[in-house]
Symmetry: D2
Subunit: 356 residues, 4 copies
């Protein structure tokens, strides 16, 4: 069990929410690839808290400091290491903090695993803050992929019951990808934004939170990557995607809908188009037998509602060994779906770079 991912490109994520710093080491990157730092920072900004619709590469103190692996913005081939310092480290007393685990959180399960030795301040290693170095790693990987014509794009497919349009799975518009790749509240159909924000605001007003889904696609990937059985693309992407906190489901192509479909409906007919084999539909999400078939890889993930809510909740007191009630104070994101979009893209980029 580890905070490490990948065989070809190895990602090692570290950090705790209130420790000295968080970061990532990426081993196995190709030497000589130029990285556009501004575009990298845009991805970091998309994940960062804040209200604006379009992310800009602001150079603030909360930025990753690159320690190694890059010289003159070019990958050297040595492990790429980046650190984001934690500036909000407080040395208050926290020894008794972990008495009442928050429902829906890792508090209890981590307490058992680490026998109480884990750093629970701000969620420790389980904090959503840890997705920042993941986005950094993913932003590097996607630039490498883009130089090979492979693009990653995701959007908020739903929040609560409000849905965005879905990707056209056989052909995703380049302009759309470009727009979504810089957006902060990432939607195909921007008309649903108000309804989605209302869903979130309602949850917030009720001291509650709300879940959603994210649809992600990989375009420009050739047929023939991946493999049978445990070497399949679905498994590789899933392993990466479930590395993102709060993800509880994933489906490729039509996914769970396929369970109600007939073979004659589900099978994607092959056809030649401009001398290239394509499929007329893409119910399989671009993957057949665990191997890419040249169509966009398309999948959707389920994001659970933020577990930290301010309503009174039932829990236990682990010291007194009795039932208890818990009220969590402080400001919490009532919906993490918008900020999770670039994180899903990031882990997808890391996974894809591992299989090509």
């Amino acid at each position: 069990m580890s905070s490490t991912y990948g065989e070809k490109i190895k990602i090692s994520v570290f950090g705790e929410s209130h420790g000295n710093g968080i970061g990532v080491v990426i081993d196995g990157l190709p030497a000589g690839v130029k990285i556009d730092i501004d575009r990298l920072l845009i991805q970091m900004a998309r994940r960062a808290p804040g209200q604006d619709k379009t992310a800009t590469p602001r150079r603030e103190k909360d930025l990753p400091k690159i320690l190694s692996g890059m010289l003159d913005d070019t990958l050297t081939g040595a492990p790429l290491a980046a650190v984001i310092e934690n500036t909000n480290t407080r040395s208050g007393d926290y020894s008794n903090l972990m008495t009442c685990p928050r429902p829906g959180h890792s508090d209890y399960s981590a307490f058992v695993k680490y026998n109480g030795a884990n750093d629970i301040r701000g969620g420790g290693h389980f904090s959503g803050r840890l997705t920042a170095p993941i986005v950094f790693a993913g932003a590097v990987c996607r630039q490498i992929l883009e130089q090979q014509g492979i693009k990653i794009v995701a959007h908020i497919s739903s929040i609560g019951k409000v849905e965005d349009e879905m990707f056209n799975p056989v052909n995703i518009d380049e302009k759309l990808i470009e727009r979504l790749n810089c957006a902060k509240f990432t939607l195909i159909n921007e008309d649903v934004e108000d309804a989605m924000r209302e869903e979130v605001e309602n949850a917030r007003l009720n001291l509650d939170s709300i879940g959603g889904t994210i649809e992600c696609a990989v375009t420009g990937i050739d047929a023939g990557f991946g493999g049978p059985l445990f070497g399949g693309v679905e498994g590789e992407i899933s392993k990466a995607v479930f590395g993102v906190p709060a993800i509880k489901g994933i489906e490729f192509g039509k996914g769970f809908e396929l369970s109600e479909m007939l073979g004659s409906q589900a099978n994607d007919p092959f056809r030649y188009e401009n001398g290239r084999v394509i499929t007329e539909t893409n119910n399989m999400g671009g993957i057949l037998g665990g191997i890419t078939n040249g169509m966009p890889i398309v999948f959707k993930v389920a994001v659970k509602p933020t577990p930290s809510i301010s309503q009174k909740q039932k829990t236990v007191d682990l010291q007194k060994k009795e039932n208890a009630e818990l009220e969590i104070n402080g400001r919490h994101d009532p919906c993490i779906v918008p900020r999770a979009v670039p994180v899903i893209e990031a882990v997808t980029a890391i996974a894809i770079l591992n299989i090509i």
Copy 2:
């Protein structure tokens, strides 16, 4: 990319449908564990084709031959290797077989990956037959788990639009587990069997096929296994489950339903019961922050309809490089869901033995 799974317990699956044999090597098993061969064969029988409702340990020629790793039915600690010989090997001409890839199948993507060198007879390494050694491996792993009080159980949760009852996720009856673990058409509510079989029969009569879902649970597993980020239980199970052909989605606990839920609905309240911390609901499927919380692990997978259907389908002729039509002859399973149940249990057992 490989047909290998696991770090602690390594599974290496081999074989092609019409080659000399298929099998598996399992490295890392604990020495000294006694294996009940009859119970192992029941799991093999559940996956084997045939109509009866309850599996029996028939000792036929299609049985696994154990080459190493077991002495007097006891694991020796050396790699456990088992082979199932293929008796239907025909040496006919097959060089021109791969002209028109079957829609929904690995034919085309594998053709590209292996540059035409793969053995396509009967699906080759992509054949569903490869799940037989996986069930063998899983059957060994689950006996090891059972000796530690951990049980794996699954059932057909739906075929087409016909649904079975779902597990009570906070408490799964031991008797029910016992019954399901020996069943061939594995249902909690046996009253839905006729309707499900009708769904399958209708598909068959229409030269079509139908998909479904399988719900799987792991009981008796303590809190504290798994880990944060890429070491999470969801990722580990997914990696294993997507190793099974035809699986296109997975969701843990309430899964995709969580995306429409509020935090106050989704969070599972903690409570003491007989001195043990439990949750009142189990929407999280027994996993918090990637780590088991002591409740049953519960997940559901989506099984696509068998791609091999006898209806005429649109495809391409890869030799002539033009569009074509395809009619697949021969007998095909119009629904693989019932036989996939023990396979899902098997990969789950392998995954769980890797994380505890």
Copy 3:
């Protein structure tokens, strides 16, 4: 801990000396490569017991049966599995066999590790017989390498105090490679054969055994493979080489001699030759900073004397928990060095295919 090796090309070896069969699964091999089975069998024959000087591809019952991964002698890209059946399986009583562990053998350490559950008949999984599937795997890998111009060659560099000539480390003759690759008692200078055989015969007559060294080289490998720190070629080859029973040391280039040398003696001067960078000497064994430099990789391994000797030896009785004496009966190879030569070549081939 496992009988598995490799990340890119994964080898999984299985079998016990008196079990049903031994074999290997090789995952990750390139599809479409034609394998010359006769040349493969020559490597198997070089390892097999027998007196002749030159190996021939005899097709006997002790041959590997290829179960999958090969069609018409061409790799399909699916895992390549081969089994050698054990025909000498006897079902006699062996339950009390493991009372007095043989000195120098794995008997005692394995007994502790497996808590007595391991199959000790004929050495079980620790038997030298397990090197047969390793040679099979290596023979496949080296043919793939040869098609890329990379050759592996080894010879008996010493038995006891009798030494062969060493390779010219900057330039190894192609004709020599060809001859050595088919030899059974593999020597550069065949004049030392008699003296070496006498060394072995003397040991045998004294109911004793004798060790030796093997020198191995890899030619035709370009500069630039391997990596810094734990990704170095030395580490990769060592990991593979110590997988061979009885190997207790390895040194690259001048190896331990370097410890007495000055930098001015040890450093290999660079020079252009026919437009290509070479080194005038090759004290570093073709590896600088863990990375190949284009010169032959050269290393030497130490083979300990066969531990099974017929002299009376001091040991313990693990049942009675007291000191004991042991006389091992039966015929034992007084020197395994000649037969270990193709095994060292095999693991080297597997290692090299993993790093290029």
Copy 4:
């Protein structure tokens, strides 16, 4: 190929000599273990340049900054990350530096591997400076081991032709371990120090360098760890040890001497001592069949002379593609053996923690 080591405890080393910082991430460490920071710093000090004989835990600016994984000097179970900032970063022009590769160095092989994109300032990722984070990681691992009674100890067994005494391989004195573990010029027989220093001084005066050997032992490790074939202890330790720059050979127990020995001389007789099985000699270095036998693990490594010498050397000009001469300026360590002692101990600790 990577700067990563280990499956159970994963070490990811990063940094370049003149980059912003070097460091290490260690994943998989047990939660709740208290680390003595002073003792950790002693190990760092033993590796640091400087003349004194005994290391002290000086708290300087060149110290590791722990970013995560430790709270109140106790491991939290999250990845432990430490960074040492590089303060000597100069931004001078270096673009044309890599023209003439230094003989014996990684310059040429790395140039080919990274196609010239690697950071060559001060050796970049290949700098000996990278062993500082390795010592940090090892110092943590050895404290964990010590709490289980396992100790690692090494000494300078030779420099040039001057030899120290060797360990008594069947019983290594606790007091000796204690003394050596804090020494900077680590010798069993301190009387040979002057002769050794003279060997080094002579090399230095001749603008040359000198190699040596290091003997290392692991005490207090029970029988039964490791495994057959590729899971052997020798392979695991070798993989780690060859991760240290300048190591060109390794031998376990009597190592290469075994090649000249008879089985009757080499085999270590078993005997009961205080109810425990021991061996009377330890020619096998504590490992039988790849598995520990309860005796000290003993091995020796060969350290090549520092390749950076100030004498004029023959090399090539990679830009002009012609032969050239090279004079390296600057101060270079004429013998790295003394400082390599704690590095060898460190990688051994990491390897051992991976196999127990």
